[in-house]
């Protein structure tokens, strides 16, 4: 393992989807109240998303292939 691996190298298209979903579904400012449509059940969405392991794995493999071809 070299220090080079600690140069962050994952912006733009190569950004890992799961890291992004952790943040945009569980982070950020949440506005509640009847003026917004902000979905209160976003946690449920995350849970069911995490159950979709097969399709996510497929997505990850596709992303991995793209990365290797760059």
């Amino acid at each position: 393992m070299t220090e080079r691996e600690y140069e962050p190298a994952i912006q733009g298209e190569r950004l890992a989807l799961v890291d992004l979903l952790d943040r945009v579904l569980a982070g950020g400012v949440v506005i509640s109240g009847d003026i917004t449509l902000s979905i209160a059940e976003v946690d449920l969405v995350t849970v069911s998303l995490r159950a979709l392991v097969t399709s996510v794995s497929a997505l990850m493999e596709a992303a991995e292939d793209t990365r290797e071809n760059i």
């Binding site: 393992m1 220090e3 691996e5 600690y6 140069e7 962050p8 994952i10 912006q11 298209e13 950004l15 890992a16 989807l17 799961v18 890291d19 992004l20 979903l21 952790d22 943040r23 945009v24 579904l25 569980a26 982070g27 950020g28 400012v29 949440v30 506005i31 109240g33 003026i35 917004t36 449509l37 902000s38 979905i39 059940e41 976003v42 969405v45 069911s48 998303l49 995490r50 979709l52 392991v53 399709s55 996510v56 794995s57 997505l59 990850m60 493999e61 992303a63 991995e64």
Partner: protein, 256 residues
Amino acid sequence: MTERRWVWMYGVAGDDLDARASGAAGVGGASLRTITAAGLTGIVGDVTDREYGEAALRRNLEDLDWLARTARAHHAVLETVAGGGPVVPMRLATLFADDAAVASMLRERADDFRRALSLIEARSEWGVKAYVTKPADPVVDSEPQATGPGAAYLRRRRAALNASKDARSQALASAQAVYAELGRVAELSRLYPPQAPDLAGQPAPMVLNAAYLVSDERAREFSAAVARLAKSHRVVELALTGPWPPYSFVGEDSPG
């Protein structure tokens, strides 16, 4: 009759954002607009009811391709507008009925947004994940205690099982040490649940999924600390990501 539209909100900046936010395309391809109120600038775009209305959202959020595309578009806007100053990110799928609703929310929550803006000024979020390093091949006694291939097989199985259990508990201890040590270079930290190996696209189990808010002045120091800790904790493999918009440090359930 024109279709109903919703106002998708990306984030909130101070009052000097307009030039940076104009023109770029956001979620659904619509151009960004800004709405100012109470000395704050809301960064928004218009989206259709057909794709982003309540019923459509419930359906679409379960569609991974749609979710991936939308999350990336939301993120790309935040990255574009964050270039020149702090922007408080909103959670994905924060929608308003119209501009007036955005303005009234900005006025109502102005103090919160100003506090968040000063917290994230000149600071960025970094992610650090730790995976269990693949254990070395277990050492098997060369002295046979029992004869026969069956006994030798069982001994090997047991040794392999113990080795992987040890690797995991050592990795957990290292992950805790790494988490605490990096906290000394950061302003704030937050733990996410470890990602499942299938989701993370990494066969090794994840033992740490942390986010840190780090002063931009100390960003080099932070990545150097990650590299140093990786050398002193061989039982884990570390991955550094970022800089991120400060998603993990502006919400109600964030620390601080």
